[in-house]
Structures are given as structure tokens and as C-alpha cells.
Symmetry: C2
DNA sequence: GTGAAAGCGCTAACAC
DNA sequence: GTGTTAGCGCTTTCAC
């Protein structure tokens, strides 16, 4: 029954069939040395007949290199990360690298496994959005000569390049914007302590408050998990207080969706009696009603710069840290005194 | 300046340091045979000191197998696919396989490259959401003994297992639902012909119309590209007709977002004078106003079943095709005569 | 210009 | 129980 070949033909099979040596087949494949046209022709024919495909591991073993980058992200289901991946991918692709995408699922253990794999396979480079600033162990990679670029989230390591955004500034602008619009008790939902973006965004929120003479009420801050469900619970717990906030700054896209669900379930109306600003834009942000005011990040460029740093970082001895800026996109969810808008279509 | 090791220690280095043979080190690592406790201890110590990590390609070459599955999807930025990936991932992970995720970007050439890589690396299995029914070449893999599971989109091959959903039925239900709600001229936006889901969903749409005695007006059907921008353009071109449709069935999530933008730009109001049903649910679907009526797919289960088929498919000689059912989730975007609802919150 | 041979790092078969 | 040896499939000297 089982008459399938378990493996394809080897270079030896091709050589035999073409009546040449394995070395010649190799040279034809890699274009590494001149091969007489007639031999080349015979080799190509044999390759076609046998449906030969060079065996990756054997090549890698011999050449001690593999043109693959690992991209380890904290959540494949978060469009922010997948959009960043597109940026990396384009750089990789045009430079002859292939990408493997690994999902750590915000889990340091899983992340460590993927880092180990990158090490075992001696991959050409790693881009990581770390699950934890202090626990993500990337030094083993850089010590083995594998360049690493951290994106979005910082890691404690002196040897990795990084591409971050100005989280503090973005959060500060978001919060200041809410204050400017007349909101006064602003709640804040951020991510876990172990991730740098959480702390920086929280810091930006605090800064905006103190800069404008507001005190920071710790009880208005919630730590969640950067996921929809976490945002929902955190928002509910804030809004069900006896003394709930009148606005929310939510520090990532998925939690913002959760928070909006909570707002609805709790019976508050945005922005009539609750202002909201989120972090990260999304294609749905201006389809949601009211349209979401957000701090947008240059996702594609983050990925692109990361890819470029991986390319140059390999032969560059000092580390680079890039910080891209964010942009506050003001839509409707943060506007005070706005009631039912656009009952009448504005254009046609 | 360059005092980094380029590569880590080899098994020989560890053996030497521990005063044992390479075979013993290998046995300690793989738990394949009993090793005396004192030797094992020395080996572990040496491994720790040298920070040894076994070299993947060498292992793979020797063992002729790699515990990695490739997942090739058409669009990493589409939450439908990433959600499916989570399902695959969980099965893979609990069975000791690792996943590499490849983005074909709806491009057959790119997809072929990834298929070639899977073949070259002799990966343990491949899950593919194919960029094209007829052009996606998966037979080379199955002929080499690599099990392949097609998800979401069919491929022309007798040797691959598959997990699909009932696209025809879902589209039919969606369209019938619009008709039942009193909409009469229903436009349809589907994907490219080369993808099976496009054609099946279009077919379901047609069936619902003819079943209820409506004729199928070809000019109300648009082919787009399964992306936001494509949905936008297609919807605009439909809505800007002299004789525009009064409802839309949009055959995927991203195109639905685009269509909603178009509806807005064109000045139509949903559902007051336009009904919409989309395909694929999303966390934002009931935050969008009006809430989106959608045909939901069991994304996680699609992935899970695909993973399971990959596990069993390896030693199973006949092919299986599974079809999971969809569910019409009726929200507000399809309801006729519904005007501004829930001005008053329903719960508190 | 081409072939023969060595060897990348690992594991499995075989000795002892 | 442990070491020695061979060899996975490929590329790259080194001869000729």
C-alpha cells in the first residue's frame, strides 16, 4: 500500500542519473563555478526527472548558515503585531531571507523555547516582541553571534538593537487630550508590569495628569493582560465603582475593544458621558461608533526598521536604539458634549 | 574587536569536557538509553559551562525528521487566519511539534517558495490556506510523504486532507436572511475566482436568490481581493450605480470593513436604507454601529481539526474531508425598518 | 572544468 | 553501560 517515497532524491541520485559527480550537481545548483553547458543540461534534466530538491539540513550543516529570520511575537491575534510582521517580511524577502513567525502567546516559557529553537537552528537573525523585559533571555543568542532586534517592548540586554515607539509621549498626549476636552476623572487600563510598554504608557498617563495639576488616583489604574477579555474586566471593575471615572485611557487595541464592550454592558454612552482614547489604530477604529480616538503607531515602519537593523546589525559592533513617534488621531470617542452626530449623512 | 564565538559548542566539545564520548552526551540529551548518574552529572555540568545547544540541522540530517509543521496562510493580517492558527498551534504544541507560520500574501509564487522550503526541510507536515485552487502545487509534498491539510480553501489534489466550512450554506443563509428582511436588490462582493471560497459563497448567494424566485443580476456581483481596500472599491462601484443595490452580502471580514467605509463615504445609512451581512465574525463586529450581522466560522476548531488530521493523516492511507458548519449571527446591520436603536441603554 | 574525498554535528548500530 | 564507528546529504578543498 505504501509505495510513496518517504524522501525525495538525493544529490547522489541526480549525479548518477546525469553521469556526473555530486560536486557538479552542487555547482549547477549554486552557480558557484563554471560548468560546461552540456553537463549542465544533463544535470537539469536529471533534476527534473527525479524532482530533486536539495535537502536543507544537509546544506545548513555544511554551510553553517541558513537564510531564515525568526520573528517571535507575543500575540499572533493582535493586528498590531501582524502588521509589524509585514514590514519585516518585505525587508527579509527582498534580501533573500525567509521568515518564520513564532507566537509566544505572552508566555515566557514558550518564548524561551522559540529562542532555543532559533539558537539550535543558528538562524540568521531574530526579531522579538518580548513577553517580559527582564525574563526574556536573548543574550545567549547574541553571544552566539545571532543578531537580535527587539521591537515594541524593551529587553534587558546591552547587546540587542531595538525599534520602539515613544510610548510615554503617546500616552501623555492621549491623556492630555482627554483633559483638554474637559474630562476630569480619567481611568487607565494598562498591561502587565513585566512588559515595558505597560509601564511607559502608564508613566505617560501619570505625567499628563501631574503636569496639569491633577493628582494621580491609583485606584483608577488597572493592570490587565493586553487581551480583549482583560480589557473588558478591567473596564467593568472601573466603571462599576461607586465613584467611576468619566474617561478611560486604554493602553492597547484589544483591551480597548473589551473596554468598549464593558462600557456598553454597563450602560454608559461614549462620548456622551464617557470619553475613551485607545492605543494602536485599526481598520475598524473609525467604523466603531463613536469613532475611536487613538494613539497610532507606525506599524509597518517598525517592522521595516527592525529588518534593516538585522541586516546591518550583523556586521556592526555597537547597538542602536530607534524610537519612532506616535500620532494622536482625534476622532469622536474623546469629544465631550458631542451627542448623536451625523444622523444626516455628510457627503453623498 | 570581534571576540564573539560565531557558533556555540559542539557535542564533541561537551564530551571532551565531561570526559565521556559524544554518544553519551547524545544519550543524556535524548534520554534514549540509561546513563550512569555520575556521568550524566558531568555531562550536565559541561553543557551548562559551555552553554551547549544541540545543532538542529545536524540532528535533522541524521534523524531524517523534524518536528515542525509549516502553516502557509494567504494573509497574516486577516484575523480569521490568525485565529485558525491558534487552533493548529495548540494541537502542535501538545504533541511536540513546533509551528512556523508563512504568509503567502495571496501570491502563488510566494506560496510556491514556501512549499519548496517545507519540502527542502522535510517538514513533518503542512497546513495550507491556498492562494489558488488550481495553481497551488501540493502534490510534490504528498508524493514525498509529507502530509498536507488544506484549510478554508480547496486545492486540486486527491492526496490532501482538508477542513473546510460550508461556504455555500453560509452564504445562502446570509442572502436568504436579507431577503426575508425585505431587502430586494442584493449586491454581492466576493473574492477572486482562483479561490474556492469565493465561488462557493457566490454560489450560495445565487442559490438563495433563485430559490426564492429572484433572478440573479450579474451586474450586482463584484469580484475583489479579500482585502479592505478591495471591499471599499467594490462597494463604491456598486453603490454609485444609477440603480444601486439596497443590500450587500460581503464574502469576507476585511472586505466588509472596506464596504462599510464605502457606504459611509457614499452617504448611505445602515440599516436604514442599506442592509449588510458579512462573512466571518470579529471582536469588533458588535462594536461597529450598527452591529454587524455575520456568518461566523468556527475558526479555532478549523485549526484544531487540521492539526489532528495532520497527526493521524501521516499513517492513514485514505484522505478525509471535513466540512464544519457556519452560523448566522443576526445583529443590526441586516434589519429593515430599524432606525436608531438603543438610545436608551438596555442594561445598567 | 571536473571528480574524488573529506568533513560539517549528530545519532544509531555495533562492539565490548 | 559506554565507547567506537559509520554515515545522514551536502559543499568545498584539492588534485588532475
Amino acid at each position: 500500500m505504501n509505495n510513496k517515497r518517504v524522501h525525495g532524491a538525493s544529490i547522489g541520485d541526480v549525479a548518477r542519473r546525469a553521469g556526473v559527480s555530486a560536486a557538479t550537481v552542487s555547482r549547477v545548483f549554486n552557480g558557484t563555478k563554471y560548468v560546461a553547458p552540456d553537463l549542465e543540461e544533463r544535470v537539469r534534466a536529471a533534476v527534473a526527472e527525479l524532482d530533486y530538491e536539495p535537502y536543507g539540513p544537509a546544506r545548513a550543516l555544511r554551510q553553517q548558515r541558513v537564510r531564515v529570520w525568526a520573528v517571535i511575537i507575543a500575540d499572533v491575534e493582535n493586528p498590531f503585531f501582524t502588521s509589524v510582521v509585514r514590514g519585516i517580511e518585505d525587508v527579509a524577502y527582498t534580501n533573500g531571507y525567509r521568515l518564520v513567525l513564532c507566537n509566544s502567546d505572552e508566555d515566557v516559557t514558550k518564548e524561551t523555547e522559540y529562542l532555543d529553537i532559533a539558537l539550535r537552528e543558528r538562524m540568521a537573525g531574530v526579531v522579538i516582541a518580548a513577553a517580559s523585559t527582564s525574563e526574556s533571555k536573548v543574550d545567549r543568542l547574541t553571544e552566539s553571534g545571532i543578531p537580535v532586534v527587539a521591537i515594541d517592548r524593551e529587553v534587558e540586554s546591552s547587546s540587542v538593537n531595538s525599534v520602539m515607539v515613544d510610548n510615554r509621549g503617546g500616552a501623555r498626549a492621549a491623556t492630555a487630550h482627554l483633559l483638554d476636552n474637559g474630562w476630569e476623572r480619567i481611568g487607565c487600563i494598562v498591561g502587565p508590569t513585566r512588559v515595558s510598554t505597560s509601564n511607559q504608557r502608564l508613566d505617560g498617563y501619570r505625567r499628563a495628569l501631574t503636569e496639569r495639576g491633577h493628582s494621580v488616583d491609583k485606584s483608577l489604574v488597572r493592570r490587565a493582560d493586553f487581551r480583549v477579555e482583560g480589557g473588558y474586566k478591567a473596564a467593568r471593575s472601573l466603571l462599576e465603582r461607586a465613584d467611576p471615572p468619566d474617561a478611560l485611557f486604554v493602553a492597547n487595541n484589544l483591551m480597548t475593544l473589551g473596554a468598549l464592550h464593558a462600557v456598553e454592558d454597563v450602560g454608559r454612552a461614549v462620548p456622551d458621558d464617557l470619553g475613551i482614547v485607545g492605543f494602536d489604530d485599526s481598520p475598524a477604529a473609525d467604523l466603531i461608533r463613536p469613532r475611536l480616538t487613538v494613539v497610532a503607531q507606525p506599524t509597518y515602519q517598525i517592522g521595516q526598521r527592525a529588518g534593516q537593523l538585522l541586516l546591518t546589525g550583523a556586521d556592526d559592533s555597537f547597538t542602536r536604539h530607534e524610537v519612532l513617534s506616535t500620532e494622536l488621531i482625534v476622532r469622536d470617542s474623546s469629544a465631550r458634549e458631542t451627542s448623536v452626530r451625523r444622523l444626516q449623512p455628510e457627503r453623498g
